[in-house]
């Protein structure tokens, strides 16, 4: 009986070994084919992926530059928030200091609301027949205050600038926050 069973068992082991090797080869073939197919697929995809990434990076760059630009504006606003007295010096005071005796033809004032309680104050001052260097003194004085006015527009009419006098219209701007 043993003499009969043992060869069968041996044959069975051999068949199992062959089956095992065959299974491994089959698995290897499947994996290799799958790997090759995936590689080809990924190679084909890579160009479109690269294009997609390039676009996304481009978008990100644009958005970041937008963000940086907005941050600059916000930073400028925050600088103003640090100032304790958020009101400019009255322009009439500056006018009297620098252009005493000069007749101001017209003063027009406007106010525009900005953000977070801030407002933009604008004053258009028209002065005739005024020495232009004195006008520049006035502008310099107004701009040198801690909470300054600044020159937004400078118009000279009626007389050549070189003559030193003329009819001048100044648009002065300042920021203000009512707390």
């Amino acid at each position: 009986m043993n003499g009969f069973l043992f060869p069968l068992l041996l044959q069975g082991v051999q068949v199992n070994n062959s089956a095992r090797v065959g299974f491994i080869w089959l698995s290897a073939l499947v994996c290799l084919v799958a790997g090759i197919v995936m590689t080809i697929h990924n190679l084909k995809r890579s160009e479109s992926i690269e294009e997609r990434f390039r676009k996304q990076i481009g978008e990100l760059k644009i958005l970041r530059s937008q963000e940086s630009d907005l941050n600059r504006h916000e930073t400028a606003r925050r600088e103003y928030e640090l100032v304790t007295d958020k009101k400019p010096v009255p322009l009439n005071t500056v006018l009297q200091e620098t252009l005493a005796g000069v007749k101001v033809d017209d003063v027009r004032e406007s106010r525009k609301e900005l953000v977070d309680g801030w407002a933009l104050r604008q004053k258009e001052i028209s002065i005739s027949d005024v020495p232009l260097d004195k006008v520049m003194d006035f502008v310099e004085k107004a701009e040198s205050h801690k909470f300054p006015w600044s020159l937004a527009r400078f118009v000279v009419r009626s007389a050549p600038l070189a003559s030193g006098k003329g009819q001048v219209t100044l648009l002065m701007e300042s920021l203000e926050k009512v707390e």
């Binding site: 990924n42 978008e59 958005l63 907005l70 400028a76 103003y80 527009r153 118009v155 070189a162």
Partner: protein, 485 residues
């Protein structure tokens, strides 16, 4: 046939793989009238050292008992045969398909009853003469070795009587030939000289004949041959078409019959009458064959073979072949898995990177806009711009405070007028626009004003015309857009 497939085939090189190359040591056994002569061969850093081992050696006995002893033996020249076959092909792979048929024709018994092996010939440019005929080197030459299964079984049984189960059964003639060349190489100038290795055993004599390093044939000539028998063999194998040998024969002797025996000297003397030449007795001739089979089993070299093949193949060889099969298959499987894993990993990395970018873009869009922006690409950027545009506009006055004063530009333009004979009749300057009209002392002086305004960042255009009355050039400069911010 497995070792044939492993032999390197470049230009039909001789190198063949040892039958049990993967082990570092084995026992070589030469059965002399049933009594074994045993050596242990150990391979260290490419060199093989052989040590005689007594049959009663306890460590050898233990190794045999535990089944760890790897034993190499041989089939005698009388129990096996070797013959040269010429194929019509120049490719070894093609030749392998026809060699069994060519061998079958040569055998006096059926090929199915044999264990056989084919060994590739030497370099194609060498010639081997057989029976006086010079064979052309272009075609594949193979040395076939064969033995009947019944003889192989008998040999295995003989070994088993001594408690040994040989893993390798070499062919005696080839073993003698290659070991002789290894221990006593061909002298320079003797590449074509006849060479004869004679093994004097206690129950047999084997003669291996060749020319230079080329093996021709091996023959068993009985227990006590005379010179005449050997001389006839030489005549058949070595005589040229002209009927003469061209050079002295190199005689090499081995085997237990060489030690303390007159027989070898007398035989030598008789043979040198017709076949003169130098005679050399190999060192330790009694263990020569045992050394030969052991060395050949564990090293690569010429003319390697194992006649314990086919259905009689030793389990160790079978398992090794299966292990190598499994290893090769496993390597391929590992390569396949690695390739798949690499691709999957790449895909995951790409997706991850894509997600990171997507998230970064979405986060910044949502943060800037103040609400979730679902649109992608140009549309998304447009929505963000429209969302932050109004706020930026309202914050611009804050930023202007940190820009250079407009008054500085006025002063620069006024100085320019003084230095370059420019008379401004109308002058209007704001951050975005400029409008200047007047006259200039020369055509090029107008350009000074234009350059200065451009440097300040205004995109301006100028009109000029000759004035007939006072030769001054009247000009007007207007901005096309605002000052660049």
């Amino acid at each position: 046939m497995r070792w044939m497939l492993r032999a390197t085939k470049v230009n039909f090189m001789i190198e063949c793989r040892g039958a049990v190359k993967w082990v570092g040591s084995c026992y070589g056994v030469d059965l002399q009238a049933g009594k074994p002569v045993i050596v242990r061969a150990e391979r260290t850093r490419g060199r093989v050292n052989c040590f005689p081992v007594a049959e009663s050696d306890p460590s050898f006995a233990n190794m045999l008992k535990s089944g760890r002893a790897i034993v190499a033996g041989s089939l005698t020249a009388g129990e096996s045969l070797s013959c040269w076959l010429e194929t019509p092909f120049t490719s070894w792979n093609k030749s392998l398909k026809v060699l069994p048929t060519l061998l079958d024709v040569q055998l006096p018994f059926a090929l199915e009853d044999c264990a056989y092996d084919f060994i590739p010939a030497g370099e194609a440019k060498r010639t081997v003469s057989q029976g006086g005929e010079i064979l052309r080197p272009e075609k594949v030459m193979a040395l076939a070795v064969a033995a009947r299964f019944v003889d192989v079984r008998k040999k295995i049984d003989t070994f088993k009587i001594s408690g040994m189960d040989p893993v390798v059964l070499d062919q005696e003639g080839l073993a003698l030939w290659s070991q002789s060349l290894f221990e006593v190489p061909v002298v320079p100038g003797g590449e074509h000289a006849p060479r004869v290795v004679i093994y004097l055993g206690s129950d047999r004599v084997t003669v291996a004949i060749g020319r230079g390093v080329d093996f021709i044939s091996a023959h068993g000539v009985g227990g006590q041959p005379n010179a005449g028998q050997i001389a006839r063999l030489l005549k058949a194998q070595l005589e040229t078409p002209k009927g003469k040998t061209e050079a002295d024969v190199s005689w090499l002797w081995a085997g237990p019959g060489v030690v303390n025996s007159d027989f070898q000297a007398k035989l030598q003397q008789s043979l040198c009458v017709d076949w003169p030449g130098a005679s050399v007795v190999h060192d330790q001739p009694e263990t020569f064959l045992a050394r030969a089979v052991a060395t050949r089993a564990i090293t690569d070299g010429p003319l390697r073979c194992n006649l314990r093949s086919g259905v009689l193949q030793h389990d160790m060889i079978t398992r090794r072949a299966e292990t190598e099969h499994v290893r090769t298959a496993s390597l391929c499987l590992a390569a396949g898995i690695l390739l798949c894993a690499a691709n999957i990993t790449w895909g995951m990395m790409v997706n991850h990177r894509g997600s990171l970018l997507d998230n970064a873009v979405n986060d910044i869009k949502d943060k800037l806009a103040g609400f979730h922006v679902a649109a992608k690409g140009e549309n998304g950027i447009k929505i963000v711009r429209e969302a932050i545009g109004p706020r930026k506009e309202l914050l611009k006055p804050f930023l202007r405070r940190f820009e250079p004063s407009l008054a500085d530009k006025v002063v620069v333009l006024a100085d320019l007028a003084k230095k370059n004979d420019l008379r401004y009749e109308t002058f209007s300057l704001s951050r975005e626009k400029v409008s200047v009209g007047g006259t200039a002392g020369g055509w090029k002086k107008c350009e000074m004003l234009l350059d200065a305004l451009k440097q300040m960042g205004y995109a301006v255009k100028m009109d000029r015309k000759e004035s007939l009355a006072d030769e001054r050039i009247s000009f007007s400069v207007i901005t096309a857009g605002g000052a660049s911010e």
